[in-house]
Structures are given as C-alpha cells and as structure tokens.
Amino acid sequence: MNENNSHDSTAAFEQALKSSQDQHYTLRLYVIGTSPQSVHAIANIKKICEEHLQGRYELEVIDLYQQPQLAQGEQIIVSPTLIKKLPMPLRRIIGDMSNEERVLVGLDLRPRPK
C-alpha cells in the first residue's frame, strides 16, 4: 500500500497544483479518543476546511480507539494524522493542526515555502 509510483505522482502533482482551486478533497482525520490534541485537531481542521474548501471537501473523523485495526492499514503511527487521500499526491498532516499555514501547505493550497 501507499507505493505511489514516482512518475505517476509527479504528473499528478503538477495537475493538482494547477487545478487545486477547484478540486474535490477527500480527507480523513485519525484521532485517539477525546484527548485535548484530538479535540483541537478536529476543531482546527473543520475551521480551515470551511474557510478554504467550502463545498468541495469531505472530511471523515476516525477514532482509532474504536477501530484499532485501521492503524496498520492506513500506516498511522502519529496522532492526530490527517490524510489527504484526494487530490493526489497523498499527504499526511500530523499534529493538532494549530499551524494553519502549514496545514494549507500540506493541503497544497499554499506553495511550499522556499
């Protein structure tokens, strides 16, 4: 799993950059129970999504305590982890999402700082 072929992902990335303004986002947030970090992360990402991706995103919040078997399948070791499934490329945004700039970079909504 997650073995993106590099040539595929490069092409997809360029595509994604061009059309990121109107692409549909599939996001999954993995949290652990109701820890403060989880609560923060959920609140933060919801706010960011509403501000930047209104109407074109789909966010699923998954509690690993409820579904521990998902941790292996989705290669989660860090919590909270937000996985950007679509658009390509796949990206993992870790932490409590308090740094909005970085979240936006991770979502390819901002260019990566040089």
Binding site: M1, N2, Y30, I32, S35, Q37, H40, A41, L64, Y65, P68, Q69, A71, Q72, Q75, I76, I77, V78, S79, P80, T81, P89, L90, R91, R92, I93, I94, G95, D96, M97, S98, N99, R102, V103, V105, G106
Partner: protein, 568 residues
C-alpha cells in the same frame, strides 16, 4: 535505629526469556530479561535484524511465545525473503498466527507537521498486533528511523520513553535495535531509555578477515559474561561462541584409549590416552606428527568410534595417500562413515568462523575423537592471542563433550621445544614431543612424553621409525656421546653384538677346559682306586693267611692236648 532489614527467604532470580540462540543463552545465563526491553545496537550490517528475528522465530517455534515484528526499515516482503535464507519460513508462521509482521511506512516528504503530536497511533497499532496473537515478544527494528521520518525530536524522545515504559507494563519481552553512534552506543541515545539489557554487536575486519563479535554491555539484575564473544551468521542462523566451561567442571573419564601404537601405549602407563583428554603433538617439520594423528584415527575407527579430522594443510585425498605409504589405510573408514575429513585453508575464513564451523561439525557428526592438524595454521600475523583464546575454547568445548582431541603443532626449527606452546600447554593433558635428532650426518626422529597428567609415563626418549607398517618406536642408546639413533644406533648395536659373541665364546672355552680337567682328575682317581683295590686285595689275602695259621695253631694245640690227655 534498628536494623531490621527483611531477609529474603529464597533468592528470586530474574525471569528470563530464552533466545534459543546457541551460545547467547549461556552468556546471558538463560536469555533476555523477561518482560523487559533489551537494546541491541551495532553498526550497519552487523546482524541486528537477524538476531532480533531469530529471537522471535525461536520464541514462536520453540518456546510457544508468539511475537510481533515491527519493521521500520524493511518491507515485509523483503524481510521474509531475507530471512528465508536462514531457513525461517515467516509466511507459514504468520499464517499460523505465531508471528505478526508489521511494516511501518514513514515517508518524510509526505509528512507535514502542524503542531503537537504523539505516537499514540503506534501504541494502538502495536497493542492491536500484540493482542491479536497474544504475543509475548516484540521487536522494534529500527525505531530510530522515526527520528529521520518525523519532525520534532523532543516530542519523539518523550514518546519513546513512554513507549518503552508501556512495553514493560504490557509485560512483553522486547528487542529494540539501534544504529551504533559515533560517541554513544546508539545515534539517538536510546540506551538512556532502554537500560535493562544492552547488547552490542560489532563487525570488524582485521588482517583482511572479518569477525563478528557480541558483547553484553549491561544486564540489570543478572550476572552475565562481559567479554566480547565471536558470533557467526550462517544458514542455520545465529550462533555465539562462549567459553563453554567457565567453571572447569566437566566430568572426567578413567577410560583409556589406545594411541594406535602399541609401544606408545606402553610408554603411557600401558594403556594410552585418557578418554576426553586433550593431546598435543608438537615437533619440527617432518617429524611425523600427522602420522601419529593418523594412527590415533585408525585406532579409533577400529574400535568402531567416529573420528573427525580437521586438516588445515593437506587435502583429504593427500592425507589418505600419504598415510597409505606407512601402511595406514584410512579410506575404508571414510567410506564407512566413521572418519570425516574437514579440510580448509586457515585463511578461508576468520578465526571465529572456523571455530564455529568446527563446533557445528562436532555437534552434528558427534565424534569420539577429534584431530586438528595443525594448530599453527591459524596464526596469521599478530593474531596469536586470539588464536590462543580460540584454542582454549575449542579444547574446553571438546573436553566437556568427552571427546578426545589431538592437536598437532609445528614448532619452528630454532625455537626451543615446548616454549612456543606454553600458552596452550595449560589445557593440554598429554604432550608428546617429536624432535629431530641430528647425529652422525643424519636426521632421525625421537619421541618423548613431555607430560601426561594422571598416569605414570615413560621418561625415555624413543626413536620412532616410519615403516611401511606404521610408526614404530624403539630404544635409543644413551651414552657419553648423547643419544644414538639411526645408523649410529645400528653401529652401536653391531658392536654390542660382537662383544656379546666373544664373551660367549670365552665362556664356552672355559667350560670346555674345566670339563677336560675334571675328566683328567676322574681318570687319576680311577687309577688310584684300582691300585688301592689291588693292595687291598693283597692285604686281605695276607690277613686271611694269618688268621688261618692262627686257627691251625689252636687246633694243633688242642689236638696235642687231647693226645696227652691233659686236663684244663
């Protein structure tokens, strides 16, 4: 203040999880600390992953302790393929729910850090894996990869500390591997967190031969061997070589076995070597060390015992051919499976590799007799100390197995006999010295017993001859000119023979003379006796006449009286 310290009734020993790895359990006194994490560190390619994997596989197959392998570096596919070469079938172990393999994929470029995080995901994942098969053992290989994959080392450190504590609470025996750092044991200083047991693996090249070593740096709550032990990775996995008998407590046998040479048996208290003893045959080049070894081999095979011959100079066929020339045919024993040759160049592998291979062959072939011919082959360059320690281990190992071992050792021409081997002499029970005796323009072989523990033995030097029916020992002459051997001995023998002959003739002559004297005397006696007889006869005759006359006289007187009618 009262000193009422509670005295523990019985010493509680630290519970240990056996690794099943040959040698490692002996060094650690039973295995790794049960229910605690152990750190294994070493540089790249020194076998950390293999050690960890073997611990897990052996736990699952031999000790009924299922295990979880969490890989951070290799994918499951690669890992399975890599350890298949050691005979571990991970696929079937996974199918049998004995082992769970989990590859943790971390790609730095995919990750964007946006704030505080923790490793709870890893905990959950590990917990899930452990609970799915009821695992008792866990391997994290190499957890330090997290530092490369995840930002913010401060958080990571705190989380790792929590992870190790969690593992302890969970009661699993864990192995954590770590890359060797420049100054510290591991790059990220993991040894600060995992402090119950630390094992360092090392892989070094010395004189172009590589050797792997293992050292238990720390083992909390237990005694352990602290030396560097050589280890080996081969098709059967990991094996570590400890000195097998740290306490010198092997059983000894009073059983004696023949040397293969009757005269030598006689020199050794009429019975030969003790079973399970170590014998050293040292001598200069060409003095018949290998022949002596071949005799011993032959004798063992004749008794129906197995003999293992480690040859480091000659190939098996060469040995067989050469021994045939002195009337020992080893080939039938090889065909019968009683004799096995293992011939390698000493330079073929490092010392440890050699020693481990020897251990393994001994363990599989189970011989009663082991020959190492010669020991010196191992000494390349400056490695004499390691050779000695290796031999010590080998001799000890064979002794504990009650295997009689015979080592040959080549002494340099000029070196005084017995000096070069002093270091190994301590572990040798019977030491035979073969030497060149140069006298009268020729070289001959002499054999003597330098020492033989626990038996009366001859202190004589014997000359040994290599004949077409084996090695023969004969008396040497010790005279004013020293020991006589070879043709000098033959000359001496001839001389003595001549001397003996003349003496014999002299005696015979004297006896003859005496005989004739006696005869002359007897003749004389005979003559005198004859003369005496004649005289005696004559005297008797006269005496007879005299008596007759006297009687006549009486008769006449009586007649006269009667005629005169005389009264009395």
């Amino acid at each position: 203040m009262t000193n009422s310290k509670p005295v523990s009734a019985a010493r509680i020993l630290l519970p240990k999880a056996p690794t099943g790895i040959q040698g490692l359990d002996e060094i650690t006194g039973g295995g790794l600390p049960k229910g605690r994490p152990t750190l294994i560190c070493g540089s790249a390619g020194c076998g950390k992953t293999l050690l960890a994997m073997e611990f897990l596989v052996r736990g699952a197959t031999q000790f009924n302790e299922p295990g979880v392998f969490m890989a951070f570096e290799e994918t499951i596919k690669d890992l399975t393929k890599n350890v298949a070469s050691l005979g571990f079938d991970l696929d079937s172990l996974v199918a049998d729910k004995k082992i769970v393999l989990d590859f943790v994929y971390i790609e730095r470029s995919e990750i964007e850090e946006t704030g505080e995080y923790d490793l709870e995901g890893l905990f959950i994942r590990l917990n899930q894996a452990i609970d799915s098969i009821g695992a008792k053992r866990v391997v994290l290989d190499t957890i330090e990869s997290l530092f490369a994959g995840l930002p913010n080392p401060l958080i990571l450190r705190a989380e790792l500390r929590r992870l190790f504590r969690w593992l302890k609470d969970k009661g699993v025996t864990a192995i954590i591997t770590g890359e060797r750092g420049d100054e510290s044991l591991t790059r990220q200083g993991l040894e600060e967190y995992v402090s119950d047991c630390v094992i360092v693996l090392d892989h070094r090249v010395c004189d172009q031969t590589s050797s792997r070593r293992l050292r238990v740096v720390k083992y909390r709550g237990s005694t352990h061997g602290t030396d560097e032990y050589p280890f080996l990775i081969d098709e059967d996995g990991f094996s570590v070589l400890p000195i097998t008998s740290l306490g010198l407590q092997h059983d000894v046998s009073t059983d004696r076995i023949s040397t293969g040479i009757t005269r030598l048996d006689a020199m050794l208290g009429d019975a030969g070597y003790y079973r399970g003893s170590s014998v050293l045959v040292s001598g200069t080049a060409g003095t018949g060390k290998s022949s002596l070894a071949a005799h011993f081999c032959d004798a063992a095979c004749r008794r129906g015992e197995r003999a293992l011959y480690f040859a480091f100079e000659e190939s098996p066929s060469q040995i067989i051919r050469n021994m045939r020339s002195i009337g020992i045919d080893l080939e039938p024993w090889v065909n019968k499976g009683l004799l096995r040759f293992q011939a390698t160049r000493p330079a073929f592998a490092g010392l440890e590799m050699q020693l481990t291979m020897m251990h393994k062959t001994v363990n599989t072939f189970k011989p009663e007799v082991v020959i190492v011919d010669p020991l010196n082959g191992f000494i390349i360059g400056d490695n004499e100390t390691s050779v000695k320690s290796m031999l010590m281990r080998l001799a000890d190992f064979l002794k504990t197995k009650q295997i009689t071992s015979l080592f040959t050792s080549l002494t340099a021409g000029g070196a005084p006999l017995g000096v070069t081997d002093v270091a190994i002499s301590a572990m040798i029970d019977t030491w035979l010295v073969l030497r060149d005796i140069e006298i009268g323009g020729e070289r001959n072989r002499g054999l003597s017993i330098l020492k033989s523990r626990g038996m009366p033995h001859s202190n004589q030097i014997r000359e040994c001859l290599l004949t077409d029916h084996g090695m023969e020992l004969c008396e040497v002459y010790v005279g004013a000119g020293g020991v006589l051997t070879g043709s000098a001995r033959l000359a001496q023998e001839a001389q003595e023979q001549a001397l003996k002959l003349t003496r014999k003739q002299e005696v015979e002559r004297r006896q003859l003379e005496l005989e004739s004297k006696r005869r002359a005397l007897e003749a004389q006696i005979e003559a005198m006796r004859a003369e005496f007889d004649v005289q005696e006869a004559e005297a008797m005759k006269i005496i007879g006449q005299e008596q007759a006359q006297a009687l006549q006289l009486v008769l006449e007187r009586a007649e006269m009286g009667q005629s005169r009618k005389a009264d009395r």
